[in-house]
């Protein structure tokens, strides 16, 4: 029995690993076809991240919103909901945190910083609550409604910045230092990267997701609804309320991700004409991380590393950085096709046994 369980766990772990390897292999094949040196390209990524403190710091910096976005997607997935709206929730969170920091700029740091972070989370929560409510009350599919909410967020944030918080350079003013997560200490440590204290928020969020889902009754209900809404309803759980709750909490994670960009990385928000891409990458991170908090951290580290290292790859090996996006897309395809990978692994291992 224990052996059997072990085998299953290995299997689930194997799929993301196989997917990543296949994705990187496909990337290498593309590079070979076009005439680049894949070894040099991958080597430049690895070397820059692990040997150059600046790129190491930037990788962790990129991880911060990416992991939060991944947690947001994963949390909703656990309740059987597909939150494509992380992108929009992140944007309203970003704007709300920056706006809060600017409007209440006179308050002391102990008040202003937590307030601004909470404002980001709250805005994200609202943007998640609406699709949750639409799903619970009117059975509107969350995939469609969250996509719509993304665009509403994109245009609304741009409008608000343009009309109420405008500063030269198509952006909001810079937030006061008392609301900033940036730190000279961390920057000096990593030779001037934009690494900021936001990683502490990420650690808290990772633990919070694990605790809520696996250590509380409410979390048990949320996961039960994800497994089978009908059975949960029969057991006396309020399915509608759990759906709303799940998307709202998911929105908080996403909103916090935006707040980290606003208060940490950039210290302001630009008028966006297109999405940041962090929210969509969050979907990839959650899928690769098997929707578990710790898995999301690893997947987030991988994608953040690829994206940051991709810039060195472009300058060293001359490969356009878009190759990274292609590799990430392929990895999602492979993780999504887990059914075939499982089937292939099982066949291979059965053949091995026969011999």
């Amino acid at each position: 029995m224990i052996g059997f369980l072990k085998k299953i766990n290995w299997m689930t772990l194997l799929i993301p690993i196989v997917s990543v390897i296949l994705g990187l292999l496909c990337g290498a094949v593309i590079m070979l076809i076009i005439g680049y040196n894949p070894l040099l390209a991958y080597q430049s990524i690895v070397e820059s991240i692990f040997l150059q403190p600046y790129y190491g710091g930037e990788t962790i910096r990129a991880m911060i919103p990416l992991v939060l976005a991944g947690l947001a997607v994963a949390f909703a997935f656990r309740t059987g909901l597909f939150n494509i709206g992380v992108e929009g929730q992140l944007m309203v969170g970003w704007l709300a945190s920056v706006a809060c920091a600017i409007i209440f700029g006179h308050l002391p740091r102990v008040l202003l910083l937590p307030m601004s972070i909470i404002a980001g989370g709250a805005a994200g929560a609202l943007w998640g609550y609406i699709p949750g409510l639409l799903k619970a009350k009117f059975k509107v599919h969350e995939v469609i409604s969250t996509i719509m909410m993304n665009y509403i967020a994109l245009y609304t944030t741009a409008y608000i910045i343009k009309n109420f918080l405008y500063h030269e350079g198509e952006r909001t003013p810079t937030i006061p230092a008392s609301a900033s997560l940036a730190s000279n200490f961390l920057a000096n440590l990593t030779q001037g990267s934009r690494l900021h204290w936001g990683f502490i928020v990420v650690i808290i969020a990772v633990i919070a997701m694990w605790y809520i889902l696996w250590k509380t009754t409410k979390g048990y209900e949320l996961r039960a609804v994800g497994f089978s809404p009908d059975a949960s309803k029969y057991a006396g759980m309020n399915v509608s309320r759990n759906i709303v709750l799940s998307l709202t909490i998911s929105g908080i994670f996403a909103g916090l991700g935006g707040a980290m960009e606003g208060l940490g990385t950039y210290q302001y928000m630009t008028i966006n004409s297109a999405f940041t891409g962090i929210g969509f990458n969050g979907i990839a991170v959650a899928l690769l991380g098997l929707n578990s908090p710790i898995g999301v951290v690893f997947a987030g580290a991988l994608f953040a590393g690829l994206q940051t290292g991709g810039l060195t790859m472009q300058s060293v090996a001359g490969v356009p950085v878009e190759l990274i996006q292609i590799i990430i897309a392929l990895i999602i395809f492979f993780v999504g096709s887990s059914y075939v990978i499982k089937w292939a692994i099982e066949r291979l291992s059965r053949k091995g046994h026969k011999k």
Partner: protein
């Protein structure tokens, strides 16, 4: 400015912006009617626009002149169809979550097209501008009709009328032919269709491939009539807008066309409202978000229930109940 003059600005502009949306949302109708959710419309449009850009440039260079953009649209249709097969294989044969596959398709399209642009144009992030785009023209004869002519037949492109005709054709195919009946049946109740000897996987492959063809055309039309070059921001959200039009039109070809025209109207208003008295005081954000807000309202069922095909998004596994 009289109402008549206002209409001569807004209606042609509406027709222009609606055409790519109509084509793409019709593609969505094929895919989703067959039971495969297609979030990847955005990516299919990107592939179409990219293909149209490079093929128009190549055709112009070889001296095809004014025919170049039209041939490019056809090439883009093929490219879109081929590209959509990735979504078909992964979501139909490999039984991946269709939304996941669609998201990945968008990623792949965005990455691949810009990657190729950089390959072809030595590191530049955008293609050169095409010189032979499909121009706005006044349709001979019809544009001379008093009142109607200047509103509907001046400053328009043929692609807009083509889009409207094609949507009627798609309606006929889906609701009046045996093929359409089969396509709808695998989207509503694949097990029943299977029992009657319809090859569910094949019908779904056709549905997805057609969505690729139409998405490719949509992207190509957008390129040759509106933007004229391809860059990372060319198809910024047009595919998702087409997806909204598909839902707003309740998965019906004529509905999707109507919704596309309406969204085109909203886009046209947000662009042209500065020239129009009274409207220039309205914040443009209202026009920009209107399509999405209205789609949400329609989905809540206040204005007639929008029902997706029953088996939309559900992989079909033989023998499983």
């Amino acid at each position: 400015m009289s109402i008549f003059e206002v209409l001569t600005i807004i209606i042609p502009s509406t027709l222009l912006t609606a055409a790519p949306l109509i084509f793409t949302s019709l593609g969505g109708v094929f895919s989703e009617r067959s039971g495969v959710v297609n979030i990847g419309l955005e990516g299919l449009m990107s592939v179409g626009a990219f293909t149209a850009a490079i093929s128009t440039l190549a055709l112009e260079h070889s001296g095809f002149g004014d025919a170049s953009p039209w041939i490019a649209i056809l090439i883009a249709a093929i490219a879109g169809g081929l590209f959509s097969l990735i979504h078909a294989v992964v979501s139909i044969s490999f039984r991946a979550d269709q939304t996941v596959s669609g998201v990945a398709l968008n990623f792949l399209a965005a990455g691949l097209t810009i990657f190729l642009v950089k390959m072809i144009y030595e590191g530049k992030g955008q293609t050169p501008y095409i010189t032979h785009n499909i121009d706005k023209i006044s349709i001979p004869g019809l544009s001379k009709i008093p009142f109607i002519g200047p509103i509907f037949f001046q400053q328009v492109t043929y692609t807009s009328y083509l889009a409207i005709l094609v949507s009627v054709l798609v309606w006929f195919i889906i609701f009046k032919t045996p093929f359409g009946l089969r396509l709808r049946s695998v989207g509503e109740h694949p097990a029943a269709a299977d029992t009657l000897g319809i090859n569910v996987s094949r019908m779904r492959y056709i549905g997805v491939a057609l969505s690729g063809v139409f998405g490719g055309i949509g992207g190509a039309v957008y390129l040759v009539t509106i933007t004229s070059n391809y860059s990372v921001s060319t198809i910024a959200g047009q595919g998702f807008l087409a997806l909204a039009a598909l839902v707003f039109g309740k998965w019906h070809p004529i509905g999707a066309m109507g919704a596309s025209l309406f969204f085109g109207f909203a886009q046209a208003l947000s662009i042209t409202s500065q020239q129009i008295p009274y409207l220039d005081r309205l914040p443009s954000v209202i026009m920009l978000t209107a399509p999405y807000v209205l789609t949400l309202i329609v989905l809540t069922g206040f204005v007639g229930r929008a029902e997706a095909p029953k088996a939309d998004g559900v992989p079909y596994i033989k023998g499983q109940r």
